[in-house]
Structure formats: structure tokens, C-alpha cells
């Protein structure tokens, strides 16, 4: 039959199923196909901390949302236009997010009495009128997959497990996605088991062909490529980008990268990724605990490596004492905190940005460090380079505040030219720096950067001792002198406060905004999308986003004071707002949400419009 083809400018699809249904992989593949087509993309994986919660239950539901469009987009989308529900639990867990009229593709094979009862459905929602407001497409996904693989030499279990590829095939047909990359992917993934390659490819094609032949899907959609800057792109998650940024920092500094890490969600993928790059001289040590991980990184920095440790909030808490030692030793150290919902174990697979206070203040004594935060998945690459630049140039710990949303979300990334990346080369001390020409003064500072010399072991003539005890200015000898301590505390503060960071830029296309929205980190996308929405309604609003949280841009106070109102949305209870009020005496309006999920653009838009009404 001939299908109608309809053009769309944007679509949000959510794949949802049991943890074992392969929804993350299905979403990933659909994203990759979509990237090949040239749409702009943003993705949001959402999964439980349990590896395999009991099958068919609400806690076991895992989902992957992908937003793609023919224009540049900033978020994974507030509400799905299409939900693929592999079982009753996936339907129940996600239904509330669907706007009326949305398409729901359900795997009817899983809507058994038992599975319905597991999630508290008295009757099947497919049989009553509870889904009347939606366009429901009942598809016997499992049995059709098994049927399509009847001639294949695979077990029934393996055949059933291929149902995610049937679903992917159907959706790929529905949205006219190019599927060559998926076929290549399957060949790579199951290289050792050709029968599984054949089965998965067959399941994919069965799904595609089903779309083409069934009358239930009368319309096929197209989303034209977005107008994006020329160049080569790849789709990338924040954790992957951050890992590559650290490798790049090693290449651009000429120093070995040393990662000390302890497994923790959602940061472990950085350890996995960096452990693959030994050919770059990257050393990864999976330490016995978080403290050892940062200790080893600091020891490596002392020896002339770029020492890095990656963790999440609970790990940063454990590392706190060692970070303070690094402050006293004035050695480079990069601490990556992929934030998750806390306190304590909290919700390990959900996002939050509530570690800002800890990053800024969570140490004993006056122990200032530099703090920066990436704004999007691909920005993690550049944020890692910037963290390394500050750490190496200013010989200081730098905390990089990523979060689960940017770490696991993905977007297209315009690959940078390697030569355009910052030059991070450093010079180790090689000869005595004292006036007498023979003495080495480990705490004699560079007048411009206030950094002390980095004299690594192995350098003859510069043997010296450093430690956590207060040091005399210049000589680094142990000192209990009151005036010296006062001087050193102030100097350590000045070292961070005077690091030059770029001015904050304000986006105000109308030029007459009286309200500024200030954000930091991963809220950039939702805030940007909300501002666009506000402007489309003819209202003016300005947006500024902080990358450097310590030190803050020199022009920030002036920018803040030039607006009637400043709104600060954060996925915490107002930590940046608190800093802004204290530092700049600006009566900022704090807007907060801590649900473990990113802001939706719609809720921010509503909030901003309320503020605008009262200006």
C-alpha cells in the first residue's frame, strides 16, 4: 500500500521497557541513525540503579528519550510524541508524561493477566477506554519477532530478546531513518556469533517491513536535516566527551594522564573509557577506595603527571582531606564530580546539581579551589581541557562539576581540529631559583600566576620537601609564624580569585530585557529552550550561563546589577543563588527543583513568564 509521508520539524520518542529489554541500546541505535541523517539531537536515558529489578515491575522500567529536529534544539524534549512501551509497567510508568494525542506503540504480547497484575492494572488498558485520548498501536512485538526468526538457528530466548530490534526497525521505518549504521553495529556487536547477527538483522527488517505493510501505520514521517555548521560530527555523551577531553589534555600538555578512580555511578564510564587509551600513555588505577584514588592522582601529579580523579558526590566527600592537601602542596589535580541525587546514596542514576556548595566550600580550613561546570554533553570535552589548563597553569586542584544529565545524555558534536585546542605545555623547574644561584625555593611564586615551581623528583639539585604543615613563604620550610600563616592563607585565596576567566556573555536578542536568567552547568539547555519560548511570545528575556564558578567572571556583578530581576533556576535548593546574593548583594529569585530529572522547558517558561508579569 502507498503510505502518506508527512513532514515534521521535530519529534520526541521515548523507548521504555524492562531493564533487560535493551531499551538503552535501542535508543542509542535510533539516535545514531538519526545523527547520520543530520538532524539535531538531544537524548535522555533514564534507568534504575538496580541492574535487573524483578521483571515486569515499575522499579524495573528503563527508558531512553530522543528528541530530534530540523533545527538546533537544546533539550531532550519535555513530553514524548511517541511512546514505545514494551510491557504494562513501561506504559504505566510513562503515561503521565504523554500529552493527549501522542502515539503509543505497545507490545501486546506482554499484556498478560500476570504482567498487568504486577503493576496493579485490574483490566488491560488496551481493552478499556483509559487510553482513549491517545493513538494506540497494538503490536504483537514478541510473537512477530519469534515468528520472523523461525528459520533461524537461535534459541527461543535469543529470538525473544531480539524484539528490541523489531521495535527499532518499526520506528526506523516510521521516521524514515537510514539503518546502515545499525546493521554495521550488529555485525560488530555479535562478531563472535554470526547466527545472532543474522537474527537481529532479520528482526530489524521484520519490524521495518511490518511498518510498511500494516494498515495500522498509515503515515510515515520525515524530519529534514537541521542546518548545522559544516564539519564532521559524531554523537557523544558527556562522560565520553569528558574522557576524550582528558586524553586531549594529556596530548596538548605533553604530560602523561594519570587517573585514580573508584567505581561509582554515574562516573564509572570515564574510568572505563580512559582505561582503553594506554597508547596515549594514560595510566588508570582502580584504587581500593575514593581516598586512595585521589591520593594516587596527587602522588602522580607530584611526579609530573596530570593527576585526575573521577567520582560522584559521596566520593568527593571522602576525597575532601586530600584535596585540601593538594591546596597546601599547590600541585595540579583535576577532580571530576559527576553529580547525582543525594544525600548519601540518594538516587544514584538520577541527576542533581547539589554538590556546588561542597565544591566551593567542602574542605577544612581556608582551602579554595577552582570550580567549573560543563553545560552540555559535548561541552564536557572542552570543560575537561579547561580544568586541566587551570590545574596545570595555576598548580591547583580544580573541581569539574558534571552531572548525570550531561554525563549520560548525548548530542551531536562538531569535531574540533586538534591544532585549535589550547596549548597546555608546562615547564618543570630545572634549576635553583634563589638569588644565590644554588638555593631552591619551592614556594617562590611566579608573580603573574602566583604558581610555585613544579620541581619533580628526578631533578638533580632541586631536592626539597613539601607537606601539609604550613609552609614559610618562598622557602617552604615548616612555619608556625602567625604573620606568615595569615599571608599564606590570603595568598592561597588570591591564587584562585585572580585566575583570569572569560567574561560572562549575555544572550539578549531583543536587547531590551529587564529580567536575566542565570544558570550553571547542565541547566543550560532547558533554560535556553524556555527563553526561546518566552521570546516567541513576544517577551524579552536575557540568558547568561556560568561555566566558571570559582573564580567567577570579573564582569558578573556588573551584568547582574544591570537587570531589574535575576532568576536562578537550579536542580538544588538555591546554592548558586546563595553565592550570588552573598557576593553581589543581588536579590536573586531562586527557582528550584530536585526530582532527579532535568527541568522541562515548559515549567521554566511558565516560571519566567510569572516573573516577567511582575517587572
Amino acid at each position: 500500500m502507498t503510505k502518506q509521508i508527512r513532514q515534521l520539524d521535530r519529534v520526541v520518542i521515548r523507548f521504555a521497557g524492562d531493564s533487560g529489554d535493551g531499551m538503552q541500546l535501542t535508543g542509542d541505535r535510533f539516535t545514531s541513525e538519526t545523527a547520520q541523517l543530520g538532524n539535531d539531537i538531544s537524548t535522555l536515558p533514564n534507568f534504575p540503579a538496580e541492574i535487573r529489578a524483578p521483571a515486569g515491575t515499575l522499579p524495573g522500567v528503563s527508558s531512553f528519550q530522543v528528541h530530534f529536529a530540523d533545527y538546533d534544539i537544546l533539550t531532550p524534549g519535555d513530553a514524548p510524541n511517541v511512546l514505545v512501551a514494551m510491557n504494562p509497567a513501561a506504559l504505566k510508568a510513562n503515561l503521565a508524561d504523554l500529552p493527549r494525542g501522542a502515539d503509543i506503540i505497545v507490545n501486546t504480547d506482554e499484556f498478560t493477566k500476570r504482567n498487568l497484575a504486577k503493576v496493579g492494572y485490574q483490566t488491560s488498558p488496551l481493552d478499556d477506554d483509559s487510553l482513549a485520548g491517545y493513538v494506540v498501536h497494538p503490536v504483537a512485538l514478541t510473537s512477530m519477532t519469534v515468528g520472523a526468526l523461525a528459520a533461524h538457528q537461535v534459541s527461543k530466548k535469543d529470538a525473544e530478546r531480539s524484539k528490541n530490534m523489531f521495535a527499532l526497525g518499526l520506528l526506523s521505518w516510521m521516521y524514515s531513518r537510514p539503518y546502515e549504521s545499525t546493521l554495521r553495529f550488529l555485525e560488530r556487536k555479535f562478531a563472535a556469533r554470526p547466527e545472532l547477527v543474522a537474527a537481529n538483522v532479520a528482526a530489524f527488517k521484520a519490524g521495518w517491513n511490518f511498518g510498511e505493510t500494516t494498515e495500522d501505520f498509515a503515515v510515515r514521517y520525515e524530519v529534514k536535516p537541521a542546518k548545522m555548521k559544516p564539519g564532521t560530527y559524531r554523537n557523544i555523551t558527556g562522560n565520553a566527551a569528558l574522557s576524550l577531553g582528558l586524553v586531549a589534555a594529556g596530548v596538548r600538555s605533553g604530560l602523561p594522564v594519570f587517573l585514580g578512580a573508584y567505581p561509582i555511578t554515574p562516573a564509572s564510564d570515564i574510568l572505563h573509557e580512559l582505561s582503553k587509551h594506554k597508547r596515549f600513555g594514560v595510566i588508570t588505577v582502580q584504587a581500593e577506595d575514593e581516598i586512595a584514588a585521589v591520593g594516587a592522582a596527587l602522588g602522580a601529579s607530584y611526579g609530573g603527571s596530570l593527576g585526575v580523579t573521577t567520582t560522584s558526590g559521596p566520593g568527593v566527600a571522602l576525597k575532601s582531606e586530600t584535596i585540601s592537601l593538594a591546596v597546601a602542596l599547590e600541585l595540579p589535580l583535576v577532580i571530576v564530580d559527576v553529580q547525582r541525587a543525594g544525600p548519601s546514596t540518594g538516587m544514584p542514576t538520577k541527576t542533581e546539581q547539589a554538590d556546588l556548595n561542597m565544591a566551593l566550600y567542602g574542605r577544612h580550613g581556608e582551602a579554595p579551589v577552582a570550580v567549573i561546570a560543563p553545560r552540555s554533553p559535548s561541552d564536557c570535552f572542552f570543560a575537561a581541557l579547561e580544568a586541566a589548563r587551570i590545574a596545570l597553569t595555576y598548580r591547583t586542584p580544580v573541581i569539574l562539576l558534571s552531572d548525570n544529565y550531561v554525563a549520560n545524555g548525548s548530542e551531536p558534536w562538531l569535531l574540533p581540529d586538534v591544532e585549535s585546542l589550547p596549548d597546555l605545555r608546562v615547564e618543570f623547574a630545572t634549576k635553583p631559583n634563589g638569588d644565590d644561584g644554588t638555593t631552591f625555593l619551592p614556594y617562590l611564586r611566579d608573580p603573574e600566576t602566583l604558581a610555585r615551581p613544579w620541581a619533580i623528583p628526578g631533578t638533580a639539585g632541586l631536592e626539597h620537601r613539601i607537606g601539609g604543615l604550613e609552609k614559610a613563604d618562598k622557602t617552604g620550610d615548616i612555619s608556625y609564624d602567625p604573620a606568615n600563616h595569615d599571608f599564606m592563607v590570603r595568598t592561597r585565596a588570591a591564587r584562585i580569585e585572580t585566575i583570569p576567566v572569560p567574561d560572562i556573555e549575555v544572550e539578549d536578542p531583543d536587547g531590551d530585557a529587564r529580567v536575566l536568567v542565570l544558570g550553571w552547568g547542565s541547566t543550560y539547555g532547558p533554560i535556553g529552550a524556555a527563553c526561546r519560548g518566552v521570546r516567541q511570545r513576544g517577551l524579552s528575556i536575557a540568558q547568561a550561563h556560568l561555566r566558571h564558578l570559582a573564580p567567577m567572571p570579573a564582569n558578573l556583578g556588573e551584568v547582574l546589577r544591570s537587570y531589574d530581576k535575576v532568576v536562578i533556576p537550579e536542580m538544588n535548593l538555591g546554592q548558586l543563588a546563595h553565592v550570588i546574593r552573598a557576593r553581589y548583594l543581588v536579590d536573586a529569585i531562586s527557582y528550584n527543583q530536585v526530582r532527579g530529572l532535568p527541568f522541562t522547558a515548559a515549567e521554566l517558561e511558565t516560571t519566567l513568564e510569572e516573573v516577567l508579569k511582575n517587572v
Binding site: A35, T232, L329, L415, G458, G468
Partner: protein, 344 residues
């Protein structure tokens, strides 16, 4: 790093310009002097030698050595030294720690450094007391010990540091005493020559808070009957004229001390530090009684096992061996790997 120039160093070359600030009479002075005197023997240039310490009286040690050094934080020296050693295989990295630093707050790092066999020389100054915090009981203090924090006597069973190290399968384990310079240097020499983790417990007297803790092992009138001097390849006998000996009684798990006259000569255990199974050295570590009778000193165990550092470096070398491109070219290739697309 440039190749070292062979210059004959002396003990003086290893003394830093810092005033030593331990209490007069502290056992740490003797250890410091012994190590400064012994270092030149190793023929390792000063700049390639690094002492890393934690917190406690012993941990001031690096300040007094004219080498590279880091006085770090409580318990973490093995972790910090691990990062340094693994990333800089050209260095000789020493950890100086105490019974509280290594066995209490830093116990985890110690056992993991030992099981990994990181190329560290770990010197544990054991005085069985917290000195720097002025006299609380430590994880090696005896049960019932009365201290500032245990006025009714300590209720904790102590750690036997060597048993702990052997439980972690340390590849080199030894014990020596602060006051016996010759023996101390002989054990350190063996430790320095060992590839991998070398763990040396040094009995050290705190004359302020725990004076005389090891007196029976030092007093000429008792020491020969208390100390078992282990010599590789020699039957284990001690006391006046070899009055006592160590045997492995049939049916038992461990070792026991007997009157030499009461056993046949072939029953006496011949010390072999290279026994692969740590159970033998562990049995030796269990010989001392509460009164320090039957305390073995010397090298308990010295076995060959690849150091963590060497395995890590071999993996790096293997990965780098295949590389033909410049780092920048490699990086460009890495960034552009996976599914990419081009917009013109």
C-alpha cells in the same frame, strides 16, 4: 631524566638543613641516622629517592632527608606513593609510617599496596602508642594497656603488623629494632634490593609515652633469650649457645619453640625466606608471646612476584608499541572514531 652522574655520596649528603624536632632520646633519631648512613650504599642518586610519609611522629622523617619528600596526610602515604611509583618507575619510593598511621587510619591503603605489590619500601615505626597526640593507645598496644584514652585498660586486641602484611601476601616482610643499627641496615638493604612492596616493621622506643616497650629485646641480660635472629638458609636457633630452637610439630599448623637438646637436629626448621606460601612466614610471625619472648627479627619473607608497577608499565609499552602516528594524529583519530557524519 638524564643519567645519574656517579658521585660517591656520604651520610652527610642525605641530611637536610632542617632542625630535627623529635623528643630527646626518641628511637627515631637512631633510625634516621642509620638510614642516612645506609642510603649511599644503594648508589641511587638523591634526586631519584623520595620519602613519603603520613602523620605522626615518624612521619616527620622526610623533612630530615635531603632527598625529595612529601609529608602527607594521616594514613594516606601508601596511596600517594602508589600514584608516584606507578607513574615514575625511575624513582626509589619509600614510605615512612607508624603503627597508628599504617594500621589504624591507613590500614586499607597498606594492605592494598601490599597485595598489589607496588614497588614501595614501607618502613613502619612501631612504638605501640600514639605519640604525637600525646599518649593514646594504638592498634599495636597490648590488651589492658592503661593510657590517657583507656584509663581502665585497652579493650582492643592488637594487630600483629607482620601477620597483617603476610595476610595481604606481601612479597617482602621483615622486622628490625631501632637500637641495632647493624641489623636495621641489613634488613633495609634487603628491602631496598627487593622488587615490589617491602614491608619492614621497626620496633621503636617512645621514651615519653611508652618507654621501654621493647626493653627485653634490647637489655643485654635478656635479649639473647628473647630474640630470634633469622638467617636465610640457617637452622633457627637462639639463646645462649643456641639453647632454643624452632620446630614444626607434627600435626600442628604452626611453629613452636623447644629446647634444642630435646629435639633431633633435623627437626629444627631451616629458615627459608623464599617459601612461596605465606603460611610459613605467618607462623614465624605468631611465635612471640605477650612478654615478647621468641621475637623473630630479620627477613621473614622475600619472594619474587611481578610488581604492580612493572605490569602497568608493560601494558603501556605494549599499547605504545603499535603506535606509528604522532600524539596529535592519534588524538584526531580518536576524536573521529565511531559513527561520524559530515555536513558540507
Amino acid at each position: 631524566m638524564s643519567e645519574p652522574v656517579a658521585v660517591k655520596l656520604t651520610a652527610k649528603d642525605f641530611k637536610s638543613d632542617q632542625e630535627v624536632r623529635w623528643c630527646p632520646g626518641c628511637g627515631d633519631y637512631a633510625i634516621l641516622a642509620a638510614i642516612q648512613q645506609f642510603m649511599p650504599e644503594l648508589n641511587i642518586p638523591r634526586e631519584r629517592t623520595v620519602f613519603v610519609s603520613g602523620i605522626g611522629c615518624s612521619s616527620r622523617f622526610p623533612y630530615y632527608m635531603n632527598t625529595y619528600g612529601m609529608h602527607s596526610i594521616h594514613g594516606r602515604a601508601p596511596a600517594i606513593a602508589t600514584g608516584l611509583s606507578v607513574s615514575r618507575p625511575d624513582l626509589s619510593v619509600w614510605v615512612v609510617t607508624g603503627d597508628g598511621d599504617a594500621l589504624s587510619i591507613g590500614g586499607n591503603h597498606l594492605i592494598h599496596a601490599l597485595r598489589r605489590n607496588v614497588n614501595l619500601k614501607i618502613l613502619l615505626f612501631n612504638n605501640r602508642i600514639y605519640g604525637l597526640t600525646k599518649g593514646q593507645y594504638s592498634p599495636t598496644s597490648e590488651v589492658g594497656k592503661i593510657t590517657k584514652s583507656t584509663p581502665a585498660g585497652s579493650a582492643d586486641a592488637p594487630f600483629n603488623p607482620l601477620s597483617l602484611a603476610l595476610g595481604a601476601e606481601a612479597s617482602f616482610v621483615g622486622r628490625t629494632i631501632d637500637s641495632d643499627r647493624k641489623h636495621l641496615q641489613s634488613v633495609l638493604r634487603a628491602a631496598a634490593e627487593h622488587e615490589g612492596s617491602a614491608f619492614v616493621e621497626i620496633y621503636q622506643n617512645c621514651n615519653i609515652f611508652n618507654d621501654g616497650a621493647f626493653e627485653q629485646l634490647k637489655d643485654p641480660s635478656t635479649r639473647d633469650n628473647y630474640l630470634i635472629r633469622l638467617e636465610h638458609g640457617q637452622p633457627i636457633t637462639f639463646g645462649a649457645d643456641g639453647q632454643f630452637c624452632v620446630v614444626h610439630p607434627p600435626g600442628g599448623f604452626g611453629l613452636e619453640v623447644r629446647d634444642t637438646n630435646s629435639v633431633r637436629p633435623e627437626e629444627i626448621v631451616v629458615h627459608d625466606a623464599t617459601v612461596t606460601d605465606p603460611a610459613y612466614a605467618f607462623a614465624l610471625s605468631r611465635l612471640p608471646g605477650l612478654d615478647l619472648r621468641n621475637t623473630p627479627i630479620g627477613v621473614f619473607r622475600s619472594v619474587d612476584r611481578p610488581s604492580y608497577d612493572s605490569v602497568v608499565q608493560a601494558q603501556l609499552a605494549a599499547a605504545k608499541a603499535k603506535v606509528t602516528e604522532t600524539p596529535e594524529q592519534q588524538l584526531a583519530g580518536l576524536l573521529g572514531s565511531g559513527d561520524t557524519w559530515t555536513i558540507i
